[in-house]
């Protein structure tokens, strides 16, 4: 069986399972579009610049949500289960299964981001060109990497029960303090001071650069550092789990 086909088969079965699970679909796919309508549409309705800014912020948040739930909660809940053990006895490599998880997350990220974009198109005067949308897609995938690693860290450092509140708390707090729900200039002074150092803010900056802002070097450096840090934590957690369960 070709590894690529096998990765798609694993991604498909994971997608089917998650799409039928409201407790996963609602926070990852419905919330970003819904919060966008509640929080930002009233302000973005009459101004294209505001609409572009707010839409990109909520697309960033949609990606963050998928990354922390898909990887954080997903890994934390699956790693102790008999079904996970069973899959490890199947003739499939760990690499293929990880690729499947990435594929599944990308599908969900695309779905959640598309919902935000469609709502924005319907309710606001957003005016991004086709080229700009392609840029958004590429930037979102690249800047999503540290969040995927953050999710994996949650998945291996927290037990299943704790993973949902932990992922939810980080997802909401980081979105707020990172200025994804409201313009960073409207944040309370203390929050505004730490905001530039948060990965969510840096993710926002990268996407906002699509509308002609300067490419934010500080944000890129920040995201790379976060990626390195979470890669280290994730691999420690992964190895520890392998040692105890599968050595």
């Amino acid at each position: 069986m070709s590894p690529i086909r096998l990765a798609f088969i694993h991604a498909r079965i994971a997608l089917l399972d998650l799409l039928r699970s409201p407790s996963y679909v609602v926070p990852t796919v419905v919330f970003p579009a819904m919060f966008f309508v509640l929080f930002d549409v009233p302000f973005a309705r009459s101004h294209a610049g505001v609409a572009n800014f707010a839409t990109l912020a909520f697309i960033a948040w949609a990606i963050v949500g998928v990354a922390v739930y898909q990887f954080g909660v997903g890994i934390a809940q699956e790693r102790g289960r008999p079904w996970e053990r069973y899959q490890r006895t199947l003739p499939v490599s760990t690499g293929v299964r990880f690729a499947a998880r990435i594929l599944c997350a990308m599908a969900f990220g695309l779905l959640a981001a598309t919902c935000v974009a469609l709502v924005a198109r319907a309710l606001t005067p957003i005016d991004l060109s086709g080229v700009q949308w392609l840029q958004v897609l590429a930037y979102a995938i690249a800047a999503g990497v540290p969040f995927v690693l953050f999710g994996i860290t949650i998945g291996y450092w927290f037990p299943a029960r704790a993973s949902v509140p932990v992922a939810t708390a980080f997802n909401l707090l980081l979105a707020y303090a990172g200025g994804l729900w409201m313009p960073p200039s409207d944040l309370p002074a203390i929050v505004a001071r730490i905001s530039p150092f948060l990965p969510t803010r840096q993710f926002g900056e990268v996407l906002w650069s699509v509308t002609g802002n300067a490419v934010p070097a500080g944000a890129i450096v920040g995201l790379v550092l976060y990626a390195l840090g979470f890669a280290a934590l994730a691999s420690i957690g992964y190895r520890r789990d392998e040692q105890t369960r599968y050595a």
């Binding site: 079965i13 399972d17 069973y86 006895t89």
Partner: protein, 289 residues
Amino acid sequence: MILDFENVSKSYGSVRALDGISFAVDRGEIVAVLGPNGAGKTTALEIATGLRRADAGTARLFGGSPRDVAMRLRLGVTPQESGFPDNLRVDEIVAFAGAHYPHAIETGDLLEDFGLTALRHRRTATLSGGQSRRLAVALAFAGDPELAVLDEPTTGLDVESRRRLWDAVRSAAQRRSVLFTTHYLEEAEANASRIVVIDRGRKLFDGDARRMRTRFGMRRLSYVGEPLASAADDAGVTVARANGRTVVASSDTDAYVRALVNGGTPFTDLEIAPASLEEAFLSLTEVSK
């Protein structure tokens, strides 16, 4: 050789789960691994299926490492408990398992063989315990494997469900090797061509059920009367009370009878018969203590 364990040891910290165990599964054999809880059965199966590594010794699956994906193409395994993803349907799970193998059994045929056809569109979360076990065991055969490994395939099932499941396994097991663990001795006796008994990580016996009984010469003696106080301490002798009768399992029931008569203990209605596998097994694990 399908599966070959050579002096395999495995420890978890200071606990020795397997202590230099050797056994093999040959083509076409159905091998039962018997042992009390904590004997090392699960660890042995985990090493055989690539879930864990041996600390010492070698475990070979089709001559290679069980950790090698290519070797596992010829292996089918039953999920240990029935924890399937809740939102998937029975036929989706079976098709998913089969998709990993080059000669997978057609999903409809496999469902039919294991009596799951009527349940094919049910979500796994809605299955009963018995249905769920049937699905779990069916998965081990989905890829038309040369070796199917079933970890306690019928735990928690009633007698009728166990019988139905074994009917399905026996017909699916044709031309294949099967390795299974079980708590039910009659299950091993009825279905296995060979029995491997392990206790505290060591192999105590390896052979067919008949040899297991004759080798240990187990006989079962029962009578109405009091048990001999001295006999309970003898190695290899188990004494129990059932329905007002004293029941003794021993490889030398003659000695017990002599002691009974010489001691002048009153008894009536004495019977001696070949012991059941269960009794042979109990005395085996007793002796090793």
